[in-house]
Subunit: 136 residues, 6 copies
């Protein structure tokens, strides 16, 4: 019997959308105000869903403390109060759209989880714009 | 690799639940206070989920500005600050329950989206009552 | 030692903004889409704040059950799933703007409370538009 | 054409996580502060999702009043303002983790629903920790 | 020029409302289901407002890290995952109504703040029931 | 009879806390991760409260469309998707703490409002950290 457990965490970061293969005018046209060369920023809300069997001894799918620690180590300590474009290696050659961020986070957490779990990650850039990835 | 992107919009509308094939007493019994002939109303929250491949040039599944424009044109401009029963052709012969509204909205947005996208629409009538449709 | 206690309740209603002393064009110009003759509607959130001394026997400023009952009887049972303009006597000659609604609610609850309490009422028409009245 | 309808309800309860097969030290190590023998508590938010065909007469998948009554009778009246470990038979021999609570609630509501409906239950223990069960 | 700064924290606790000077029947009549001898619980949301002059060097009224540490030490570490009646000395002889809890918290934080600050504390027992104290 | 009306708007921006009169080490010690030279960012929520008499003709304290336009022109168009330190003149010589931002916004809106109104501005930097200014 599989149950999903969800853990919500947050980080605050600056970013800029830009495709280095395009000229400035094309970048401005496609990305609009998100292309501002001086960056803008968001309070990102992150919801990590792990689906698996309940351990009969603990009554847990996964200990939320362990899941929270993984999210802290893989995501929050690297992204929080950072500039995603300048400070985070993951986005040196990867445009930090919400879609690219959520896939990156999914991969980092996937590497830390046992294969017996399914993983879905949801990322809120704002209350009105958010994305979700389950591995493709 | 498919990612879901979500866009949230809002509209405020009046409506009344009524089945013209039934007499008044049956309508009152089935629909209760929602059958009030003078209407009541809601702040509807709408979440449109589009699932598809990421465009490698933009890092977007779909430009949120384009998705927002489609929702504005198809839904918000037609439903916002309207009486769904009296002002909106979609509900002339279609009882505006949350279920019927969400299917109607799904069809309108589906017609505007490329076949390469999957579509799910969620509609909140109140914080406690909401519905979701993915095409059946 | 005075403490404020707050109770949140909700009602869903239709309304229309209109000044009968004006012609239709003026009403449309001033009230815009809120002047729709067929009405629109909202999920109204109501927060009633009562400030007073703590009763040493109960540890309560006021029993929340009693406060909730007053709000139910004075407001929710009269306004919920109603058309404020057509169904509610309070707005027969009183344009149901959020400002006029909140003053009306304040007066109704004030009449039910002992003089030893101060009263403030906040009314959310939407998440973005809300009003508050403390007695003037 | 299947639509999902969701109903949100709430209950407030005390609980304690403990495995009687383990000694106190193991329980403290595994469950941490959730093992407090004097209990702690939560405001639980419960979202019940029922998926099925729309009834063409009513425009409803299920009457929300009926669904709400089922949730009240099966869950709220039994769990609200209770100690899950001491007052609720369901958890006499079942550690009241969010995972075990959500499966228990799912079974209770499943027994009250027609087979033509699919059922999913989500339970928020806090805003940051929540679980979901769809039947396994 | 005085500015208010607000810091939100949370704790989860069990409690029971009871006046030991009354018999069981009176306690049940007055406190209803909150009198359950086996306790119930809440996710308490706490908002601490500190009002004062801005320090021209930092641009802060008070360093939020310092304010958060005070709240952690005075409130969260003592109340979180505890039974307020059994585990917390503050409520040994003080009925843990929201009103009495908020005054107790206000006094604890007041003792840690410089006199140049004004202090207001708001405590949410649920989304629908909350209280606020500013010193009386 | 004075009523308060509130309008909520949002902007997303990058910023960095820094005092140019201090050396780098002092700035890092005082401002911590908020001192990151490459900036971080937030979704700022802004609530503007205007208190005044109700106009008997409209039933409005102030037309929310006019208030929203003022906030758009004075704040959103200048701050949204900008770097507060680099792109916004207001913070060239003014450390963009939440406290300094809220006073700056208050002054800009105050200049656009008639003297018959009182003004309060609340700014949420995150859900846990926010500030409010009423003119000092």
């Amino acid at each position: 019997m599989k149950v999903s457990v969800f853990r919500k965490e947050r980080f605050n970061a600056a970013h800029r959308l830009n495709n280095p293969a395009w000229d400035s005018e094309t970048n401005r046209r496609i990305f609009g105000k998100c292309n501002n060369p001086n960056f803008h920023g968001h309070n990102y809300d992150l919801i990590v869903e792990v689906c698996g069997e309940i351990d009969p001894d603990t009554g847990y799918v996964i200990d939320m403390k362990i899941l929270s620690d993984i999210i802290q180590e893989e995501v929050i300590q690297r992204y929080d109060h950072r500039n995603l474009n300048l400070d985070v290696e993951d986005f040196q050659d990867n445009n930090p759209t919400a879609e690219n961020i959520v896939i990156t986070i999914w991969n980092k957490i996937r590497n830390r989880l046992s294969d017996r779990y399914e993983l879905t990650v949801r990322l809120y850039e704002t209350e009105k714009n958010f994305v979700e990835f389950s591995g493709g």
